[in-house]
């Protein structure tokens, strides 16, 4: 039994780390700007493709792992400055439609550049194989993914709680006008915030490309579970997103093992149950990151 269960548990935790990282990016953007970024999955895919291109141009996997998310975040900044900014003071329906349109464009552009079919994303030989834990082999790549994402989230927590900009960001989530009155440039905060969210998406995208495969819509497949993670964890809670992500990841992997047909539906049932017990999600308290 353990031999069958253990890999699925590791798989679930890894999926959960993905969901958490994506959900936190979504939440960051949502809480500050009142925008649901429907193109978040496209940024994920972009991160994967940029890393793929870098590696096929001969750079190392580690270089790509760092640089591709930064490049993705730069694209994010351009989108934010040019397209999102005019919509901040308007009804959320507009930013939803805009990011929705962007995701359509992105999908087709990826298809034009990198083709409709999935591309092989070779992980370096040093990462293949596993490490023995008890009498079971944990794939190195899964350990890497968990480590990198955990590190990124720890850095994010540090940034939000221990740096001046981070603290201002958290304060701005509560009251943008007050922060503006205190002299902080809110436009810069918006930009930093968006870039952070997209960086996380890009990072998750590179790792997902290495582990789950890469095609023009692969990022979108992770988007819906991330939405569920935001709802389950409680909107605006960093801890909630991590707990929610791991819970959803484990649910998916366990259901895949026992009732594969229900693997996606199960997370919605879980979401409904959690909302019945805790209407604001596991750690739901609006607008306060920490």
């Amino acid at each position: 039994m353990f031999e069958r269960l253990a890999p699925e548990i590791f798989n679930g935790l890894m999926l959960g780390a993905f969901y958490a990282a994506i959900a936190i990016g979504l939440s960051l953007i949502m809480n500050l700007t009142g925008t649901i970024n429907m193109a978040h999955g496209s940024f994920l895919t972009l991160g994967g493709y940029l890393a793929y291109t870098l590696i096929s141009k001969g750079t190392s996997f580690w270089f790509a792992l760092l640089v591709a998310p930064i490049l993705t975040a730069l694209v994010g900044i351009i989108v934010e400055r040019l397209l999102m900014r005019p919509l901040y003071r308007r009804d959320p329906v507009y930013s939803l439609l805009l990011t929705f349109g962007l995701s359509l464009i992105a999908e087709e552009v990826y298809r034009l550049i990198w083709g409709s079919n999935g591309v092989p994303f070779g992980i370096p030989p040093s990462l293949s194989g596993g490490i023995a834990v008890a009498d079971f082999q944990v794939p190195k790549i899964q350990i890497l993914i968990a480590t990198v994402l955990a590190l990124a989230l720890a850095l994010l927590w540090f940034f939000l709680n221990q740096t001046r900009v981070g603290l201002r960001l958290r304060a701005a989530v509560q009251d943008a006008e007050m922060i503006a009155a205190l002299g902080t440039n809110t436009q810069v905060l918006y930009m930093v915030n968006f870039a952070l969210g997209i960086f996380l998406a890009g990072l998750a995208g590179v790792l997902a490309g290495a582990q789950l495969g890469l095609n023009p819509t692969s990022g979108n497949a992770l988007l819906m579970p991330a939405f569920v993670t935001v709802i389950v964890g409680g909107m605006g809670s960093l801890l909630g997103a991590i707990a929610g992500g791991l819970l959803i990841g484990l649910t998916v992997s366990m259901m895949t093992l026992f009732f594969p047909a229900f693997s996606e539906v199960a997370i919605y049932v879980l979401m409904a149950l959690i909302l019945l017990i805790r209407p604001r999600g596991l750690f739901g308290e609006e607008g306060i990151f920490g």
């Binding site: 925008t35 429907m38 009804d91 349109g101 995701s103 464009i105 087709e108 939405f227 047909a261 909302l275």
Partner: protein, 351 residues
């Protein structure tokens, strides 16, 4: 009441009558009858978004779930029980209504951006059901089925493309009239009041959740009719009908045509369906154009075409149903705590 509004009613009536001749006109300019049917049934589904977005002020980004349930309801009842045309339509509509009964209670809890998030997420559950239970639904490949004959009173006949148009047309006219009556009824006026200031409506002693719940059910019926018609038109149902991308299309049409107006959904559906049809025959890259179209509409026509024209013409008429684009967002109501010092009682917009 006033002259401009009765003139509007006459024009609207004339438009509905004129649509009866659309297939004949379409043939003259080489437009397929089935495309015109698609415009009208899409308009019925967009009316659902219009009710939620334009009149109640809810970010209705999940109505494709009801639309797809309509199509699958018709498809499954025909494929498994060989029911007639009318029964298939009814089953589709009821399936959408039941789906709404399941998810609506969860949606009621929040407003604004959170409502959108919940609606997208909960709407997607039906997509995965259709996708995964492939032995029943055909999974990703979808399911095809024959279009059954119509038995209605003395009428017994098979439904060709023209017949399909007239069925769609009749239901479109009926839906338009129902919607027109609905938004003028006390219920509809209260919905519109909720959009402008939900807190005030609560302080008039009304449980706004109940109004919103019924509003979602009504929207599900409209979406379900549209979806069942679409299934019957294509003789095919597939999971993407239930997907959030489909929901986004309906929202765009509604905004484009002008949300909170009676004929906005029709105009939006006309531009969208015909535009998509034309672009997809010209270039394989239609998705880029479609996405670009979204971006241009959002940045360029925020009030939609009807809204922009309406602004120019009827600025002074104090029409209660000619709604503006902005929905209010009272995300914390009633029992919920709020930070001290926040001014309450006014419609709030998210920054």
């Amino acid at each position: 009441m006033n002259r401009s509004r009765s003139r509007g009613a006459v024009l609207g009536f004339a438009l509905l009558v004129a649509l009866g001749f659309a297939p004949q006109v379409g043939r003259l300019v080489h437009v397929d009858t089935s495309i015109i049917s698609e415009v009208l049934l899409t308009a019925i589904a967009a009316m659902a978004v219009n009710l939620l977005l334009g009149y109640i002020g809810l970010n209705a980004f999940g109505t494709a779930s009801f639309f797809g349930l309509g199509a699958y309801g018709a498809a499954l009842s025909i494929a498994n029980y060989h029911v007639g045309f009318v029964t298939a339509l009814l089953v589709g509509t009821i399936a959408a209504l039941l789906g709404a009964c399941v998810i609506a209670p969860f949606l009621l809890r929040r407003r604004g951006i959170y409502f959108a998030l919940l609606f997208i997420a909960f709407g997607q559950v039906f997509y995965f059901l259709a996708y995964r239970f492939s032995n029943i639904t055909g999974g990703e490949d979808g399911m095809s089925f024959p279009r059954p004959p119509l038995h209605l009173g003395p009428l017994h006949r098979s439904v060709d493309e023209l017949g399909m148009y007239y069925v769609t047309y009749s239901l479109f006219v009926l839906s338009t009239i129902v919607m027109w009556l609905l938004v003028r009824s006390p219920f509809g006026r209260t919905l519109n009041a909720i959009r402008q200031n939900e807190l005030r409506v609560r302080y008039l002693g009304l449980n706004t959740d109940r109004f919103i719940f019924v509003g979602i059910l009504v929207a599900a019926v409209f979406s379900g009719i549209g979806g069942a018609l679409y299934g019957l038109l294509l003789r095919f149902a597939f999971p993407l009908l239930l997907d959030w991308h489909q929901s986004g299309d309906f929202v765009l049409m509604t905004i484009l045509g002008g949300s909170g107006t009676i004929f906005g959904p029709l105009l939006g559906a006309l531009i969208f369906v015909l535009g998509k049809d034309i672009i997809s025959t010209i270039t394989p890259l239609w998705q880029i154009f479609l996405g670009g179209f979204f971006v241009i509409c959002v940045l360029g026509f925020p009030k939609g075409i009807v809204g922009t024209i309406g602004d120019l013409i009827a600025r002074r008429a104090a029409s209660p149903v000619l709604a503006e684009e902005n929905a209010l967002d009272v995300s914390v109501l009633g029992a919920a705590a709020r930070e001290p010092g926040v001014t309450e009682g006014t419609p709030r917009r998210r920054p």
